[in-house]
Symmetry: C2
């Protein structure tokens, strides 16, 4: 979810540099395989600085999920599709933006929270909860538009909340399939994949009249 640098300010404090290093390294290697020393080296700070700002590696994981959530949340909140008059257009606008973001190597568009929760859901409840908040926060931002689009459509037996979850599930699954493929071609396959999500919503939420 969400590309790299241009959307986040250059980190200045040691804390921000460590979180930015966390985004980079967790995307590439996952959380467990990323050591505190690696984070410090990448951030250009010492171990003393690390444990001054975070009481443990786990605490950095939690902060990283929150940092990620705040960055992506702000980015999507400021996207122009919100100004479209039709709620369905706004939903499709979100999906189109997600499709447009799928470019470059996998580690530049994958989701930090989705990667972390995979490894930590049983071993660290704080990290699990922080990742849940991150992903479900993204879903919640879509829910109002989905509810409005749903009301105008003839669809039965589906809730806006469930549809919002579905968007996130397809995104996360797309990232995993992109990881199995690897390389630059993964982005194109991933874009095609999200086309199915778009099509489902087009058909399901088509206005009645």
């Amino acid at each position: 979810m969400i590309p790299n640098q241009p959307f986040r300010p250059a980190p200045v404090s040691a804390r921000d540099k460590l979180l930015e290093a966390g985004v980079y390294l967790v995307r590439k290697q996952g959380f467990s395989a990323t050591s505190v020393d690696q984070l410090c080296a990448r951030a250009g700070v010492t171990k003393g600085a690390f444990f001054h700002h975070f009481e443990s590696k786990e605490a950095l994981g939690v902060a990283l999920a929150q940092y990620w959530s705040a960055s992506t949340g702000a980015f999507f909140a400021s996207a122009p599709f919100h100004h479209l008059p039709d709620p369905l257009d706004r939903v499709l606008g979100y999906i189109d933006l997600r499709i447009a973001l799928l470019a470059g190597p996998v580690e530049s568009f994958s989701c930090v929270a989705g990667t972390m929760v995979q490894e930590a859901f049983l071993t660290s409840d704080p990290i699990r909860a922080a990742c849940q908040a991150s992903i479900m926060g993204n879903a919640a931002a879509l829910e109002q538009d989905l509810a409005a689009a749903l009301a105008r459509s003839g669809a039965k037996g589906v809730t806006a909340a469930s549809l919002a979850r579905h968007v996130q599930a397809v995104l996360q699954g797309t990232f995993i399939l992109a990881k199995t493929e690897g390389g630059e071609s993964a982005a194109e396959t991933a874009r095609e994949e999200l086309g199915h999500l778009r099509r489902y919503f087009e058909i399901l939420l088509k206005p009645l009249n």
Copy 2:
């Protein structure tokens, strides 16, 4: 993907015991966080046995993906939905089976290959490739039925291969969302989530006449 014991024979050789321990531990903790010592302890064998059968931890990862692929492949190949006359019913039968398998704690229905590739896609190409083979093998098994159902429908602009990929993406994404939720309730939410996949296929692949 695929539940625990009842579908796999009880392991006898040290190699199989280690692979079975791998399924268990990787699902719970991921690949990096699982140590060789833990695998040996769980399997009830010594380190000597481990490195007798696998030349490295990475080699076990590759073998684990293959073992997983073989187990799940055999299970789905023997499922009764294959005998349904209508190809769309076979596709929906597969999805219904996947829905039925979503029960118990997350680590009892999540996918070993999907978990491993997340951590290893950049750091170990052999593991990445083995996980790709596992997941795409599952997709390939669906492709014929999807092609047949597609031919009877009026759907345009979609390929059977792309739809098969979509099934796997939604499954993998569903597992990740279940991990964020945690606990026993995750299975129910996951079943509801797969309902969207079913609905998409019902609508999209509805026969013309």
